[in-house]
Symmetry: C2
Subunit: 139 residues, 2 copies
């Protein structure tokens, strides 16, 4: 657990590359988002636009909350509403060239951080698991 | 990030005590579980029995997967099925007297770990956030 050890490890070494990250598009229906979240088993995933730029995050509690009516669960909203209507727009992001220590600071309050390149294209995600695996010696 | 610093911190200092942990009972319907998960905003919560002993975990993807039919989402299953039918039975748990290092090891693969006392009663949860806050110096 000595911080000197990982000063020369960079974000690219630890991140999950974009081709292995489940994601949805801003224009998808909530029903599509719920299917991708359920089938992947992830509780939150990135939202991209058609140019593969990062627009936000969508999570299972947020989708469910948007269809929870006063009397019952309003499932018809799943087909009518789009991901961009309910997704979380303000999300932490880092660039490939940022220091790992900056990524660590953001992971305290977020299960994963999205990584972009200098032109704003989505490159992958840095997860708490990847950092904990590094920091905690396997006994 | 020096491991010597937190050898004398114990699990009880870092855990969220049971009275502040959202949870459901084994006999609750899936509909009730979905409401507690959605309203609390948490993606996974502990399942207890009537004696306040830990029985499992329930998460939003697991509840959604159990009602996902081939043609459509089968919402009538929410009222018919119970939490104990779909919950995850095998979950990591530690006791109040275990070392913090044992808790750290389990947090690599789990967002939170349930803490029990020596008689098996639920005492609270140890979260990744609590550990990361300890390990990562705020710049
Ligand atoms: N299929 C699987 N195989 C093995 N372990 C699994 C798993 N699914 C979940 N886990 C474990 O559960 C943790 C929480 O998953 P969750 O989906 O809530 O939260 C995840 C999810 O929202 C997102 N995530 C991780 N991998 C992803 C991927 N390939 N695509 C999209 N999102 C991903 O990052 C969050 C944190 O991930 P992290 O790995 O730190 O932490 C994961 C991992 O330790
Ligand atoms: N109301 C809120 N206020 C501030 N931050 C919030 C928050 N809800 C979620 N977060 C942030 O999002 C992370 C993931 O939450 P999630 O619900 O997927 O995953 C949570 C949830 O499944 C469970 N959990 C945490 N606190 C809980 C509580 N009071 N009752 C029941 N379960 C809890 O432990 C997991 C890991 O928690 P952790 O704190 O490490 O990590 C949390 C925290 O950093």
């Amino acid at each position: 657990l000595h911080s000197g050890e990982f000063i020369d490890i960079n974000i690219q070494d630890l991140m999950i590359p974009s081709e292995r990250v489940a994601h949805v598009q801003v224009g998808n229906t909530l029903e599509h988002a719920l299917l991708v979240l359920t089938k992947s088993g992830y509780t939150a995933i990135p939202v991209l636009d058609l140019e593969y730029k990062l627009k936000g995050l969508i999570s299972t509690p947020v989708v469910l909350d948007s269809i929870l009516g006063l009397e019952r669960i309003e499932f018809e909203k799943l087909e009518k509403n789009r991901v961009e209507d309910v997704m979380n727009h303000s999300i932490p992001r880092i660039s490939l060239t940022d220091s790992l220590l900056k990524g660590l600071g953001l992971l305290v309050d977020h299960p994963f951080i999205c990584v972009e390149n200098k032109d704003g294209y989505f490159e992958g995600i840095l997860t708490r698991r990847a950092i904990l695996k590094l920091l905690i010696p396997k006994n």
